[in-house]
């Protein structure tokens, strides 16, 4: 009976939908939203390899693809040794240039033949290795991934080539105003000598001195499998995965040990500072505007995230609404909070065309104060 009633309701629903069509509708009324759908958060299978490496595995077989992310806390640029800015990023970049018996060309060729991608890079708090592959090439991709992360050889020839490429890139950085603005912003906020204040990619003068031995030393001190987490998602069977990973990564031991460097605390009192970098005849000015925010473990994090979204998220963010949709001053205006182990930076940014810079400054200040004064409204 219940089933018949439900079927009848459905038929009536569809008839009512069909009857009220097009111009007969009261278009001024937004249709009522149906019940909010339940979202079942995928629960990862968790296990540890014998060396302590933590694994989170989520099975999803919609497409014949697998994605993996290895997180290496303490191997990011915040732990660059003094005078060696850029070392964490350089080290991560070198892993897939020579490993085991493989050189850079072989590693690259293998990835292409497998349809796999393996890329290692350093952010501020951690280094990461991202992997993607087809289901059918998982075993071979894991072989290659394990070789890259556990047996990097820092071959002198490959290191020299990558060093030269990265050095050139540092020299060309001043052609890219957005990058210049971001780097100067962090320097001003934290101090160029601090873990969070220096450029992750480094600086020409310090980078020139880096070499294979420095990278090997950083790898041995900072890439500790017992501290790492590997997240695997996609077309996998978690039990089979566990065995595959144990075989390839379970015996990986760190060569040496070193405590994580303690970061200098951000300055307690920040005066308002304005840094201008002149780029004659530039079409626009790239701006970074912000202050030191909170730690990612801060209990106020959720409230902060909402505030950042209200200010500069999506198209409804206040910055976009005012600077773009009302005033037409910018194409894009946003705000962001980088939640880190220590106090991360909060900033808003935009590309402003001349001569509206002065008007933009007024707009930004007013809206920076908005969420605190007015509270948040869904209307």
């Amino acid at each position: 009976m219940k089933r018949i009633f439900r079927s009848l309701s459905l038929v009536l629903f569809f008839i009512s939908q069909m009857l009220a069509v097009g111009s007969d509708l009261d278009w001024s009324k937004q249709p009522a939203l149906g019940a909010e759908p339940a979202f079942k958060v995928p629960i990862p299978v968790r296990f540890q390899l014998t060396n302590g490496l933590k694994v989170l595995a989520i099975s999803n077989s919609k497409l014949p693809l697998i994605a993996m992310g290895l997180v290496i806390p303490g191997a990011g640029s915040a732990t660059d040794p003094t005078g060696q800015a850029g070392l964490a990023a350089f080290t991560a970049d070198l892993l897939d240039e020579s490993a085991g018996m493989l050189g850079a060309l072989q590693i690259s060729e293998l990835q292409d033949r497998l349809g796999s991608k393996i890329s290692a890079y350093a952010a501020v708090d951690a280094a990461f290795v991202d992997v993607s592959c087809l289901t059918r090439t998982l075993d071979a991709t894991l072989d290659l991934f394990a070789t890259i992360v556990t047996q990097p050889t820092f071959d002198a020839g490959e290191v020299k080539r990558v060093h030269n490429d990265r050095l050139t890139n540092l020299k060309l950085r001043r052609d890219r105003p957005r990058e210049v603005a971001a780097i100067l912003f962090n320097e001003m906020l934290y101090g160029a000598e601090s873990g969070y204040g220096h450029a992750t990619a480094g600086y020409v003068k310090e980078f020139e001195k880096l070499d294979s031995a420095a990278a090997r030393g950083f790898y041995e001190a900072s890439w500790d499998p017992a501290k790492m987490t590997l997240v695997v998602a996609g077309d996998i069977n978690p039990e089979q995965l566990r065995s595959k990973l144990e075989t390839r990564l379970g015996s990986w031991k760190r060569v040496a040990k070193a405590a994580l460097k303690t970061l200098p605390s951000p300055p307690a009192n920040l005066d308002t500072r304005l840094v201008l970098v002149d780029r004659p005849n530039a079409e626009q000015s790239d701006t970074h505007f912000g202050l030191v925010g909170i730690k990612r473990t801060d209990p106020k994090r959720a409230a902060f995230e909402v505030a950042v979204e209200v200010l500069g998220g999506g198209f409804t963010g206040r910055l976009t609404q005012r600077l773009r949709e009302q005033l037409g001053y910018v194409y894009h205006a946003y705000s962001s909070m980088d939640f880190r182990r220590e106090l991360g930076p909060f900033f808003s940014g935009s590309c402003l065309s001349h001569p509206e810079n002065s008007r933009w400054n007024q707009g930004n200040h007013r809206h920076g104060a908005g969420p605190r004064r007015e509270g948040c409204s869904r209307g």
Binding site: D165, L172, R324, G328, C351
Partner: protein, 442 residues
């Protein structure tokens, strides 16, 4: 250790031998008003996407009004009869989603994404703006988005190192009276010239249901979706088929064209450009794979020669971009400091000449095929991306169910196909060469 290496290579070869294509279950039909509707269910997350592709892009613009198709795209978010300016964003962002769009040379694609219970609201909003935009349109909206788009151009073109290159490339590759002669972003003076009457005429001509394909993808009940499409979209009256500008096949480029420019940069960059085949035409897959063989990965011919071995380039890339009535193949290389651009051009030319002498090796082709297929499949992970791909299949290949055929046309490419495509399309005397030098070198 040698054993490990052999083991990896062995598995790689095995991997190449087995192929399985994912399927995209879908149903498609045409409304009485001519709009194509495609439903693609995927209940893996409680989200739904509604994508509408209109067959209008920058090639449909008139001279002196370039950039208009894209500028118009912005205006579709500025409100319609029952949808005040900004309401669409508020509704969808409150639903954990968003609304956006992009414009190409041939198409304009609108995307809505939100929680599954927002599908009816999406179709209500789309129905209103696809039928009743002009009732509340005025000059202030046009002026506002004109400013926004001009800032978009400054941010994406004018204030970017080497940013003028794509614009100059199109100007040199296609004749003045061809719709691919100008870039989608348009020229500042043309954007400034756009009028309210232009907006009205454009909307009435191209934003008609018989010029569109809508794809709904994600977590929805197909019966409810069909009913809502009927309710909010099917009533929009069919209109005349757009009488769009017609372009005849341009005369072949008779000889190499060269242009030298300066920019606020420290090292030179060279661009080699050719006309290329149209989307879904016979040579497209072979030229796509040629781009991989030339510049994808460290063992690709150009990367290995210019960057890895000779160390004369900081980077090198190759792209094949096909569009509805033609395509563009380009090779871009940035010089190492102190290296003359001519040296890069000579090395690239030599590598292309090697295709005359011999076809690529089977290993090169396999790498290109695997790498391309993996990248393509990764791009299908989200239901939104699948909706966009399906919409393009419907509009360009004439079949929304084209996925298997699409994968097959790349798997079936032979060594001779690649060699032939390079020989036919990337001729040294049919190319455009652009050199960007640092301003100091004036």
């Amino acid at each position: 250790m040698q054993k490990v290496v052999l083991h990896i290579f062995g598995l790689a070869l095995m991997a190449i031998a087995s192929h399985s294509a994912p399927r995209l279950p879908l149903e498609s039909y045409t409304l009485d008003n001519g709009m194509r509707i495609i439903l693609h269910e995927d209940h893996s997350t409680p989200m739904v996407a509604a994508v509408t592709l209109f067959r209008v892009g920058s090639k449909d613009e008139l001279p002196g009004k370039t950039g208009f198709a894209h500028l118009f795209e912005h205006l579709m978010f500025k409100g319609s009869a029952n949808l005040p300016d900004g309401l669409m964003d508020r509704i969808l962002e409150e639903g954990g989603g968003w609304s956006n769009a992009f414009t190409t040379q041939d198409h304009t694609v609108y995307q809505n994404m939100a929680a599954a219970n927002f599908l009816e609201a999406m179709l209500w909003m789309d129905g209103d703006r696809y039928a009743r935009l002009l009732e509340v349109f005025d000059l202030s909206k046009l002026d506002n988005q004109r400013d926004v788009v001009r800032n978009e151009r400054r941010q994406g073109v004018d204030n970017v190192p080497y940013g003028q290159a794509p614009i100059i490339a199109q100007e040199m590759l296609w004749p003045k009276d061809h719709g691919y002669h100008w870039d989608t972003i348009g020229y500042h003076e043309d954007l400034q010239a756009a009028s309210v009457d232009d907006v009205k005429a454009f909307y009435r001509k191209y934003y008609v249901p018989n010029n569109a394909t809508m794809v709904i993808a994600g977590d929805f009940d197909p019966k409810a979706a069909r009913a809502w499409v009927q309710k909010y979209i099917a009533w929009i009256p069919r209109a005349a088929e757009p009488n769009r500008p017609k372009y005849s096949r341009p005369k072949p480029i008779p000889e190499e064209g060269r242009v030298v420019k300066t920019d606020k940069v420290q090292v030179p960059r060279v661009y080699l450009e050719w006309r290329a085949p149209a989307s879904f035409s016979a040579d497209e897959p072979a030229l796509d794979l040629a781009a991989h063989i030339l510049a994808r990965g460290k063992t690709s011919r150009l990367y290995k020669r210019l960057v890895y071995d000779d160390k004369i380039a900081q980077d090198v890339q190759a792209f094949n971009s096909s569009a509805e009535i033609g395509g563009q193949f380009e090779i871009v290389a940035t010089a190492k400091p102190g290296v003359a651009p001519e040296k890069l051009i000579a090395a690239i030319s030599e590598e292309l000449k090697r295709f005359d002498e011999s076809a690529p090796s089977p290993a090169e082709l396999e790498q290109a095929q695997n790498s391309r297929e993996a990248g393509f499949l990764t791009g299908l992970e989200s239901s939104l991306q699948r909706a966009i791909v399906i919409a393009f299949y419907d509009a360009l290949a004439g079949n929304p169910n084209y996925l298997e055929q699409d994968l097959a046309r790349y798997r079936n490419v032979t060594l001779r196909d690649v060699q032939g495509a390079v020989k036919n399309w990337l001729k040294p005397d049919a190319r455009i060469v652009m050199i960007f030098n640092p301003e100091e070198a004036k």
